[in-house]
Amino acid sequence: MALTTQRVDVPVIVDESKCLEKCVACIEVCPLDVLVKNPDTGKAYMKYDECWFCLPCEKECPTNAITVQIPFLLR
């Protein structure tokens, strides 16, 4: 089956300049397990667009690197 790479507006935005390579706080608290580390950079990003906009990732980040927006379809 053919696949496309469709862009989506993702709710969780990570400021890579602030994200700490050794820290996994946001990844551990996400109930939907949608955040992972980019193996090349060690920075977190939203891999799966499955967000409940519940905010623990943002609140638990020790460097305020994360911003959660309400998903575009709801905004």
Partner: protein, 325 residues
């Protein structure tokens, strides 16, 4: 810092918490927070003095989550931190953690000249409800800072067994509105002789409508018939929330003198006033008010219809009781 029995996973982060690199310490403290292991309490308490306020705040959060009473005295120290985020987090933590046992320590802080810490402690005393705090609160009624006067008079109503407090009465004339608002609410919990006349004056004459509203709320609590003339007058207040809470106070002190004002309130612009006036009329039980109440049965607001119907049933019930007697 490490204890011999410490879990190696915990020990690794405790060690990292000593790193000169801020980023390392941030990762370490986050990891300790998530592990939630009480063996880390001592190094966490030490981290309250980390040079970075972010690390300090995270240490407060982590100690809060561990909820071990050992951490309470050092957290109380944080109430005087120069950093607002550390103070705020410590206050949130202590709201959950403090108990009567911490009273003396809190009262000590109250006597230090640090306005931030004093304000925070006044808030925390509301969680303890202990009347022993009263003599320590009184001096704040004369504080130069309005926020301390307000906090102190608010805390007063949380102290158990305090029913008289003459020094608080003067705050009803405070130049600052926020202080008078809190005072008006606190007076509802006091029984000094001057309280009801004072509340009546606030209800009818204070320039701030929230003070007037709060006075009505306190008069509802006190349910003193002596307030009736002021309550009737306040039914004509230009602010609807004052009229609403006055109608509620009139539910507690049924007096026929209120009937004209209450009937007028049945056509108030605000549905809450109409509803609460209907209930007050129901409590009065006068058949002469039935026709006015019946006109509100097609009020556009469902609550008014429901409470009006109950009021009518009330009046009819008291009528049949009288006729059976």
């Amino acid at each position: 810092m490490q204890t011999p029995n410490m879990d190696p996973e915990v020990a690794q982060w405790v060690e990292m918490l000593q790193s000169p690199e801020l980023n390392e310490r941030l990762v370490a403290i986050k990891s300790l927070q998530h592990l939630g292991d009480e063996d880390a309490i001592e190094p966490l308490i030490a981290a309250l003095n980390d040079e970075s306020p972010t690390v300090q705040t995270l240490a407060v959060t982590t100690l809060w989550e561990l909820a071990n009473p050992v951490a309470i005295p050092p957290l109380i120290e944080c109430l005087s931190s120069p950093h607002a985020e550390v103070r705020d987090e410590a206050l949130s933590a202590l709201k959950e953690l403090v108990s009567t046992q911490d009273l003396m320590k809190l009262l000590d802080v109250l006597q230090q000249e640090d306005a931030h810490a004093q304000l925070n402690v006044l808030v925390l005393l509301r969680k303890i409800h202990d009347a022993q705090a009263l003599p320590f609160i009184l001096p704040f009624f004369q504080s130069e800072r309005p926020e301390l006067r307000e906090a102190a008079v608010t805390t007063l109503r949380y102290l158990n067994q305090v029913v008289r407090c003459e020094p608080a009465l003067a705050l009803a004339e405070d130049p600052v509105e926020s202080v008078r608002r809190s005072t008006a609410l606190t007076l509802g919990h006091l029984s000094d002789q001057e309280v009801v006349p004072l509340l009546c004056r606030l209800l009818t004459a204070d320039p701030d409508w929230q003070v007037r509203r709060n006075a009505a709320q306190s008069l509802e609590l006190l349910a003193d018939p002596a307030a009736i003339d002021s309550l009737v007058a306040a039914m004509a207040d230009p602010e609807w929330q004052v009229r609403k809470f006055t109608a509620r106070a009139l539910q507690q002190t049924a007096d026929e003198r209120a009937i004209p004002a209450l009937i007028k309130a049945l056509s108030d612009e605000y549905s809450d006033v109409r509803r609460d006036a209907a209930t007050a009329l129901g409590n009065l039980g006068q058949p002469s008010t039935l026709s006015a109440l019946q006109q509100t049965l097609d009020d556009p607001d469902m609550d008014v219809r429901i409470y009006s119907e109950r009021a009518i049933v009330n009046i009819q019930a008291s009528q049949s009781e009288t006729s059976n007697a």
